[in-house]
Amino acid sequence: MSRWWFLSAAFVLWIVSGLALVRLPADERIRSRSDQVPPRIVSMAPNLTEILFALGLGERVVGVTQDSDYPAAAASKPRVGTFWQPGVEAVIALRPDLVVTLAFEQQQEFSRRLGRMGYSRLMVNIETITGLFDAIVAVGKAAGASGQAEMLCANMRTEINQIRSATASNQPVKVLWVVQREPLRVAGRDTFVNEMIELAGGENAIGPTLHKYPPVGAEQVIAARPEVIIEPAMLPSVLDQQRRQALEYWNRFANVPAVTTGRIHVIDGDTVSRLSPRLPAGIRTIARCLRPDSFGE
């Protein structure tokens, strides 16, 4: 029996000495002082890259994620993994003074890991349009570009207001926003897409749901009676193919107004699938689908 006592004693001793020697992780040791303007910035998401470039900080961006394809200059920056599987070694090798991340679980954890090593980072939550404006201001402040941030926000607001005032007096158009066709999944009320639809003078054909992007059945589609159906395409290169498939698919819903009037739009998903400074362009694209006559091709 003695070896069991010995093992238990050794184990307890090990844990105790761990508490004394290694100690609990000390979070939040910031290496560079936060009042300095960070000369080397790494962006951990495509829309964060867009914000940094729109603030005129493109020169100081030293690393971006794999899908950062806009503006064109961003595509030539060193890559640090995807926004949902970031590579910590690649980020460290770039010696960043500021790492900008989003706030969802994966990136929160990533930010925490960098924080433990003493990197200064900024986490912004971009899930709504208000969140986007706050994020632009926060990024501007952290990167020493507050003036540019104010200006960018003001310009975006003006442009959005223009679109909104053009349709304010009209009856909202009922829109079904299709995220995925088989099985059918659409944008619900609690999404930024819903906000964009409303700003563009539309109304989500689907009522409040449990899911953010609820899976819906044929019955709900027919009951929702959408006047316009919009499908964002993942890649511009598959736009035509997807348009053909969409028309074929939606033909089965002969009683849906959008189908009878042929108002099924497959659009380039680039500006409408991520919340970025190109938001006004995205809203304009949607407005054009809803009212081709007043927004023109």
Partner: protein
């Protein structure tokens, strides 16, 4: 058949395996998506003692991660050995009694609940996964006990059904989770390594090492039990007590491993079999050698996971299944003639 095991053979084999493991860990710490030079990593030559990027990558990212992979691999392989022996079933692995689905459910609850605190440097996912894993094993063990004192079948069935039930609950939570929450859990469910704090590694390593040593102490009794309950009972082995101890310890180290790295599959199934095929079924040898081999296997698999799609990374569970499967089939074809299966 394999030659009889002497303590000398055991010692030599364990020592060789341990040295191999150290070599593998050193080599894998130097391989990664970023090229680092050992000289600048160890030199700290930059002015005013600021660590070089190479130093930081080696010490703060690679070494913790390699250590973590070794610990998790050892824990899963060791408890795989024990589960295969106690359940007398070659298909048994550390997850068979519901650890995986219990841990997965815990992790999903933490994610969907949107919790964000830390306990001793561990995220809610890890804490809930640990609790879920232990809770589920305890539940299954309890049900198994009710079905019959020595009924392995009852225990296995309870494990399978609890697994299925909890998996359904996981699927329900998945279906109502937000899309970005899904990414986090998807990687967790496939087994995912990150660098951890040294304190976490210290405690986790302590728990796992102590557990494996405890299981090693039980090796001789496991040998007897794996032949048959009645025989063991008749020569005076306290079967129920040994079984309970072995189950508790291996469930504990599995839960620790799972809370550190998510559900890394396959290690606990194939490593014990591979070692058994190569060196024979004696548990005094099977336990240490499987632990070391499991550690080596997972360190290598994790290095592959870091490299293949760099600078992004794969979940390590994908790699263990993809390298492990074919490798194991080769071993099976080559060596199965001279092996004794625990039946």
């Amino acid at each position: 058949m394999h030659p009889p095991l002497t303590s000398r053979i055991l010692l030599v084999r364990t020592a060789v395996a341990a040295m191999l493991l150290v070599a593998v860990m050193l080599a894998c710490a130097l391989i990664g998506p970023q090229d680092i030079s050992l000289k600048s990593a160890l030199g700290m030559t930059q002015s005013n003692a600021a660590p070089t990027p190479d130093h930081e990558i080696l010490v703060r990212v690679r070494i913790p991660r390699v250590l973590l992979a070794a610990m998790v691999g050892a824990a899963l392989a060791a408890s795989g050995v024990v589960f295969q022996a106690l359940l007398r079933n070659p298909l048994a692995d550390p997850y068979i009694l519901g650890v995986s689905s219990g841990a997965g459910l815990g992790a999903m609850i933490a994610v969907v609940g949107g919790l964000s605190w830390t306990l001793w440097g561990r995220s809610p996912i890890a804490v809930f996964a640990f609790a879920g894993a232990l809770g589920t094993v305890w539940l299954v063990w309890g049900i198994g006990r009710i079905t019959g004192r020595y009924q392995v079948t009852g225990l296995l069935l309870a494990g399978v059904v609890v697994n299925a039930f909890f998996s359904a609950m996981i699927m329900f939570l998945v279906s109502i989770a937000k899309s970005h929450q899904l990414y986090a859990t998807l990687f967790w469910l496939m087994g995912n390594m990150t660098e951890e704090d040294f304190f976490v590694l210290w405690v986790g390593g302590g728990c796992i090492t102590a557990g494996i040593i405890a299981l090693f102490f039980l090796g001789p009794q496991l040998n007897i039990i794996s032949v048959g309950h009645e025989d063991a009972q008749s020569i005076g082995v306290p079967v129920a007590r040994i079984e309970l101890a072995a189950f508790a310890v291996s469930a504990f180290i599995t839960a620790v491993a799972v809370s550190l790295s998510g559900l890394v599959g396959f290690v606990g199934l194939i490593v014990p079999h591979a070692v058994r095929l190569l060196f024979g079924p004696d548990h005094r040898q099977l336990l240490p050698l499987s632990s070391l081999a499991g550690a080596m296997f997972l360190v290598i698999a994790d290095t592959v996971a870091r490299m293949v799609v760099a600078p992004a990374q794969l979940p390590v569970g994908v790699v263990t299944a993809m390298i492990g499967g074919p490798f194991f089939l080769l071993l099976l074809i080559r060596y199965s003639k001279r092996v004794y299966w625990p039946t």
